[in-house]
């Protein structure tokens, strides 16, 4: 068996989806944990310093490249799989199966992922691009550290109700995408032991509710001025 086959056969392509999916899940933990610093109620100091740290070392920059590569691989592989799989049944059924036997969100992973992609484009443009490539306001904290005022940018961005709603749509899509994707990723990677499957299912449901909910609360609490 060639190395390439391990990642290009029908099962191999799912390995790629599972591996990239798990990496992205790990990223979400870091992202949500760091962003939760906005609720420190210190005018955004802890958050701004934490966000600055995430871009301050070469290790982080390498991880950043890895993250983008992973996202792109996950997206491209998903569309390739979706298109290939759709071509396997040229004539469909008169009476579709619908929800008999499967959850709707497990069949609409492609559409949910596409919604997340649209959200991501706006999200990256809103925060990552200004912080990484454009001029943006800075703040200085004692003992004299000058960092980008991302907290201020968040406050500005989330005065726009449409953007808040778009972010909420992104969070809902993410929740359903994870609800299936979390456990499915581990199945694709070959976790078949029933004890682990039950554990992963439980953690997966918890994760896909708690993490998107925490993300959703960020624009909401900014819009409603809950954080100063």
């Amino acid at each position: 068996m060639k190395w390439s086959e391990l990642f290009t056969s029908s099962v191999g392509k799912k390995f790629v989806m599972g591996l990239t999916g798990v990496f992205l899940i790990l990223f979400l933990i870091v992202h949500v944990g760091l962003n939760a610093c906005i609720w420190a109620m210190d005018g955004g100091q802890m958050f701004n310093l934490a966000a600055n740290f995430m871009g301050s070392t070469v290790v982080m920059r390498i991880l950043e490249i890895g993250l983008f590569a992973t996202i792109i691989l996950h997206i491209v592989q998903a569309y390739v799989l979706e298109l290939q799989n759709r071509r396997k049944r040229s004539i469909g059924y008169q009476v579709p199966m619908g929800n008999k036997g499967s959850k709707w969100y497990s069949r609409y992973m492609g559409w949910l992922g596409t919604l997340i992609l649209f959200f991501l484009i706006v999200h990256i443009r809103n925060f990552w691009v200004p912080s990484r490539w454009l001029e943006m306001p800075e703040v200085t904290y004692p003992p004299g550290v000058t960092v980008h005022d991302l907290f201020g940018l968040m406050k500005d961005t989330f005065t726009n109700i449409w953007l808040v709603l778009l972010y909420l749509l992104g969070c809902v899509s993410l929740a359903f995408h994870l609800m299936h994707g979390f456990q499915s990723a581990f199945r694709s990677l070959g976790v078949y032991n029933n004890r682990y499957i039950h554990l992963i299912n439980g953690i997966g449901i918890g994760f896909s509710i708690i993490v998107p909910l925490a993300f959703a609360m960020m624009p909401i609490s900014m819009y409603l001025n809950w954080v100063q």
Partner: protein, 254 residues
């Protein structure tokens, strides 16, 4: 349950041969007994059509007791009809009531081309089995039944997987037309037993390669296959197959 009779409207897929475009035809059947099996209802209709000089509806069937895997009707949006854990031949008319309209379609998957009406060509499954779904045993005296110790749980799981009759309902139900529940049942059945050991790595790799060649899709873990499987093969077999494949891919010599 009390016996009753019913009149039904059937919308059945008719297709002369592989190349014909095919279309739905509507038939009415009357005085159908609730104790009849679904296929017997088709027998009644076919007999009438033969008497009328019309071409009867072609459908696959053999044992009519749920063990051969031949019957393959997609009934009202579900392979093998509305009941769980049964084949089409085990479905009885008491699942329906007077005045119902029943839509009957063949399995739909490009890897299962329609040969005629409700009959599809499932020889792709045979070729997948030929690729690796076997064990090599030397001839000679039969080995004593209990000579090889096998862990009870493994034997049970293997036997449960071996219950697969290869009907193809998993392919028919899967949104990707994936054959992985079938394949994983066959791989698990052999991989869990010591007799399957020698070909363990080549089996899974060769069978997947053949499956891809036959034009089946990949797995999205929606669980539709497991829900319609007449033998209730669990989807965890697919995860086991993924593990087998990964293990073979990472450790095989060539």
């Amino acid at each position: 349950m009390e016996h009753y009779t019913m009149n039904l409207t059937l919308k059945v897929w008719r297709q002369k041969n592989k190349k014909d475009k095919g279309s739905f035809e509507t038939y009415t059947v009357s005085d159908i007994s609730s104790e009849m099996s679904f296929l017997e209802m088709f027998d009644v209709l076919n007999e009438r059509m033969v008497h009328e000089g019309k071409e009867p509806i072609a459908f696959d069937h053999d044992c009519r007791e749920g063990i051969c895997g031949m019957c393959s009707m997609y009934i009202n949006g579900r392979p093998h009809g509305p009941w769980e854990g049964t084949t089409t031949c085990q479905l009885h008319m008491r699942a329906f009531k007077d005045g119902d309209t029943i839509v009957v379609e063949p399995w739909r998957a490009n890897a299962f081309p329609v040969i005629k009406d409700l009959v599809v060509d499932r020889s792709a499954f045979d070729r997948i089995i030929q690729a690796g779904g076997y064990i090599s045993v030397n001839t000679g005296n039969a080995v004593d039944a209990n000579a090889t110790p096998i862990e009870k749980n493994k034997a049970d799981t293997s036997f449960a997987a071996a219950a697969c009759i290869g009907c193809g309902a998993c392919v028919a139900a899967c949104k990707n037309s994936s054959a992985l529940l079938f394949l994983s049942a066959k791989v698990s059945h052999l991989a869990l037993l010591p007799q399957g050991g020698p070909e363990r790595k080549t089996r899974v790799v060769d069978m997947i390669a053949q499956m891809d060649k036959e034009g089946f899709g990949s797995c999205t873990s929606t669980g539709a296959c497991e829900a319609v499987c007449p033998k209730e093969i669990p989807i965890t077999n697919i995860a086991r197959l993924n593990a087998e494949y990964g293990h073979a891919g990472l450790t095989s010599d060539k």
